[in-house]
Symmetry: C2
Subunit: 205 residues, 2 copies
Amino acid sequence: MHSAPHSTKERILSSAEELFARHGFDGASLRQLTAAAGVNLAAVNYHFGSKDRLIEEVFRRRLDELNGRRMAALNRIAGQEETTLEDVLAAFIKPALDLSHDGNGSLFMRVLARAFAEHDDTLRKFLSDNYGHVMRQFTAEFARLLPHLSKEELYWRVDLVTGALTHAMSGFGMIQRKSDVTEHTHREQAAAHLIRFAAAGLSHP
Amino acid sequence: MHSAPHSTKERILSSAEELFARHGFDGASLRQLTAAAGVNLAAVNYHFGSKDRLIEEVFRRRLDELNGRRMAALNRIAGQEETTLEDVLAAFIKPALDLSHDGNGSLFMRVLARAFAEHDDTLRKFLSDNYGHVMRQFTAEFARLLPHLSKEELYWRVDLVTGALTHAMSGFGMIQRKSDVTEHTHREQAAAHLIRFAAAGLSHP
DNA sequence: ACAGGAGTCAAACGATCGTTTGAGCATACG
DNA sequence: CGTATGCTCAAACGATCGTTTGACTCCTGT
């Protein structure tokens, strides 16, 4: 089922993720990509069929993991009386922070931010078809916790929160932390900032 | 000084703005661009020198206008005792909304969102060198109105607000309005949403 | 009237792109 | 042993890219 961790497919996916994040989907060529991965140029078309399908696989690999953890965290708290808005936001944000722990996982957030900016219909449809249910479920829980908001008002605020979080998380590699705090506590602080900001933006009267 | 409104230079700039917004800086070729503008392919290199310099001119033309209006609106209210956080945010957001009134001015916000996602050092330096003072002046006014925030805390929140606004304004062309509200009032409502959201995110305890 | 700059044009330049091809290699299976 | 099968490889394909060239037109200033 899964490929070996250092197989040709996985090496391509890792290099693709990094180069797509740094130079964009058009900007990163298959020749740069395969050279960085140490594989032959034709390997991309052999294993993935085309560059577009490779791009989709880059998303699928990370989003399956990311959204799986998000749903697990949400299901652990959804519908309960003592659940707070901050809890739900943490269920959404923490998995993304965990992702940026390992290797170039943080670069994937840049890839995701690019996808939003692209406004490419094919890519947006792919993301909506495969992972739209996650956003829908989170929105439903927001609606339960914010009953004073109209549906239209809520959609507006969720959209703005999404924009802020995508923007912020795509820059995680860049934010300089003071030398006296560890990488771990820095991320904890970042998450705390994000959660409090988003909670304020969602719930203001 | 300024070119005639329908000169070759202006026709190129308008088509460039639209195609850069729709297909990205790499995705839009000079051949598509000059064909849409109804001018010869070589005209771009003749009038602008290169594609990169054309890109810079697309930014310069709109940002000079946009930031000029922002600074004018800010200077009208900065430092006064009765000025509220919402006033400052309106000084930042309203000019962007006005821009999207005329022609394809709204597409420029998409171009700007792309530039943020690109993380291109050359482009970021260009934007920072030419228009960084605007963000600095707005941040200074935020600092005056939010004295309870540390400098680090304020930078965090301003960054998140910037992300939310860029994301939201880049999608203005897409947001569907109900058929019973005019385009004008729809924009007013959008601005009101943005301002209240940003104010809540900036000023929460 | 005429020299000269500004602008436009078709054509070509070299480079790079995604994709395809067919031969070569290895391992697994009859 | 023989032969499929999965995979890798160098090489080439046609297309498209940004840029340059040189001839041609038009207008302006002396």
